[in-house]
Amino acid sequence: MSMRWYVVRRVLWAVVATYLILSVTWGLLALTPNPAAEQLQFRAAASGGSAEAAREAFEARRGLDRPLWDRYSDYMVNMVTLNWGWSDSRSQPVMEAIAGAIPYTAVYSVPTTILSVLLGLSIGLYSATHQYTRTDYAATFFAFFGYAIPNFWFAIVLLLVFSVQLGWFPVVFDPDVPLVGFAMAHQLVLPVVVLVTGTIAGVMRYSRAEALEYVQAEFVKTAKAKGAGEFRILTRHVLRPAAVPLMTILIGDILGIFLAASYLVEVVFGIPGLGQLSYNAILAQDTALVLGTTLIFTFVAVIGNLIQDIAYTILDPRIDYGDR
């Protein structure tokens, strides 16, 4: 089977997965009472009206009294056409709210990703080539620290020490400063530190483990015997083959950690990105927005998985396209 056909199949699979996720989400929504409706009912009952009438009025307004199949197909069409509904709490279309939040998420995600991959890989590779040295142990310990520290708590502690006590960084995030500039970079130092500490650990441990498999490989000895220098051996002959399994881990595991961590970090630091948008939507029981933001995170994961699969085929000449 050719590589192109394989890629086509992976893309198709991503589409199917997306479809299934949307359907399951719809099913969950259809099954559960809408919190907003419950609230209306409660209010109606509290003010002496009929809770039942309030519910029916609400359902009629939302089109919930129509047959299931109609509701399902409408939902699907809306999803595909990016008509993701109206956010009650923000009084704007869900898509608009999401579009407005994305820049604030991107502005710290990009540096975090670059930093954790670069630092994680170099420390991991250094650890692998200097196994059982003091630096290796220190790096390992740091990795455990990064894994284990609850990022929301770490964020709080850093805020306490560096913003409240020492006053080095602003306590409150100011969304009005330009997205690219010193003031933005300055107020993003702590969030980026928290996120990098969490994600770097994974990158480090995995790249160390993968590189260890290869630093003792025969072909590395061949490269050395050819006269290749230390750096060339490390980058071309160790990192390149290690990149194949690393790809899977970096996107599969680290992306998950990163998405969850960014959510919490946005809430703690008050960054008005996707995470905070989603969080506020949950607090406001704004179901359309909760759904929209959760799905955005999920699609990022689906696309990440897809990129991982495709990258795998490009990186590993040995892959058997017939598999899966």
């Binding site: 490989a217 025969e218 000895k221 050395k224 015997a225 006269g227 290749a228």
Partner: protein, 371 residues
């Protein structure tokens, strides 16, 4: 200058620092390789011959390994004094290496052509196109059919024998003066083994290089060697011209090895006992615990010196020393000298020695000899 050997190794010592203690994988090995000749380093698995080969250009992983002492003169320069840059020039530039396992020797994620081009361009500043043309020539020369087409194929698309041919092409890419071939045929089928050996012989002639062939297979030695160095447990037991060693094997260990060759009328079940502990070798001659002729003098002191038997034939055995009687060893007629190296043409694949099944990967870089 012409008389000076290309490679001269004196009292080479290579150690490995392990949890179990210091392993002296190579413990005072000396030998020469002259220009244009083939020298075979022979010994059973774990005897330190691979480590010797890797020590020549300091390929031994450090830590845990360490080339701890001795001198290695290559073309008149001491390798142990070289800077890292000079070493990189030497490796792949003047000294090519081929390793035992062709399956692992090629990087799986690069096309074979790329790997040969890399070998060329690491040492010579040539345009990519020219390097590519040379790589195709090399692939042709080592017998890869349709070399142009296969240039961009990946290692997993080649058979074991073909991979070893690629590895040879890679080692020869810069026309080295010395080729160190570490068991280049062990991992291959018997039929392929002979093809590869023939190829090496032809190429040696063509490229006018010296070859240090590391092997456990005396059949191979008989076919290709000019001179032989027999090592055991990190020490040289006997060395000399291949005719002298085969016609007049002097060390009990060499004789035992030769007895294991088919058609020699001896036992085919190998030599009794096993290699001594590498962290705690026995005193005296390293071979004495397995030697039929061991006397008290063998059991004390260090390894006996290499006593000269002729111009180019030395043996490290007390029986050839001033107080010894060579007849003690030579009287044992079971190792006949009826078969000379010239007609060792048909040698089975079980010609290796050792007390158990031979494990081609058994001689790893750590020089250990655990069973």
């Amino acid at each position: 200058m012409a008389d000076e050997p290309l490679l001269s190794v004196r009292n080479l010592e290579t150690k490995f620092h392990t949890d179990e203690g210091v392993v002296r994988a190579v413990d005072g090995v000396s030998f020469d390789v002259r220009r244009g000749e083939t020298v075979c380093l022979v010994g059973e698995s774990g005897s330190g011959k691979t480590v010797t080969g890797e020590s020549l250009t300091r390929l031994v992983r450090s830590p845990p390994g360490e080339v701890a002492g001795g001198e290695i003169y290559f073309d008149g320069r001491d390798v142990l004094d070289m800077s890292d840059a000079e070493l990189r020039d030497l490796r792949g530039g003047r000294v090519g290496h081929i390793f035992q396992n062709p399956q692992g020797a090629l990087n799986p994620v690069y096309p074979v052509g790329w790997q040969i081009v890399e070998a060329i361009r690491l040492h010579e500043e040539v345009p990519k196109a020219e390097a590519r043309a040379r790589a195709v020539d090399l692939l042709n020369r080592v017998g890869i059919p349709e070399a142009t087409r296969r240039f961009d194929d990946y290692p997993h698309e080649f058979s074991g024998g073909m991979k070893q041919r690629v590895a040879i092409a890679m080692a020869l890419a810069t026309n080295p003066a010395l080729l160190v071939a570490d068991e280049p045929t062990t991992a291959l089928d018997v039929t392929i083994q002979n093809q590869i050996l023939r190829l090496l012989e032809e190429l040696q002639e063509e490229f006018d290089m010296s070859v240090l062939l590391i092997t456990h297979d005396l059949g191979v030695v008989a076919e290709v060697a000019d001179r032989v160095v027999v090592v055991y447990a990190g020490k040289v037991m006997e060395r000399g011209d291949v005719f002298d060693v085969f016609e007049n094997p002097s060390h009990p260990y060499t004789r035992a090895l030769l007895r294991c060759l088919p058609g020699r009328g001896g036992r085919l079940d190998g030599i009794d006992g096993r290699l001594p502990s590498a962290t705690d070798p026995p005193p005296g001659c390293r071979f004495h615990p397995r030697c039929d002729h061991a006397v008290d003098a063998c059991r004390t002191g260090g390894q006996p010196p290499l006593y000269a038997l002729s111009d180019d034939h030395d043996v490290s055995c007390v029986h050839y020393g001033p107080d010894g009687d060579p007849e003690v060893v030579r009287g044992d007629e079971s190792a006949g000298s009826a078969v000379g190296p010239g007609d060792g043409g048909h040698v089975g694949d079980d010609a290796h020695v050792g007390d158990g099944g031979h494990d081609p990967d058994g001689e790893s870089g750590d020089g250990g000899n655990e069973p």
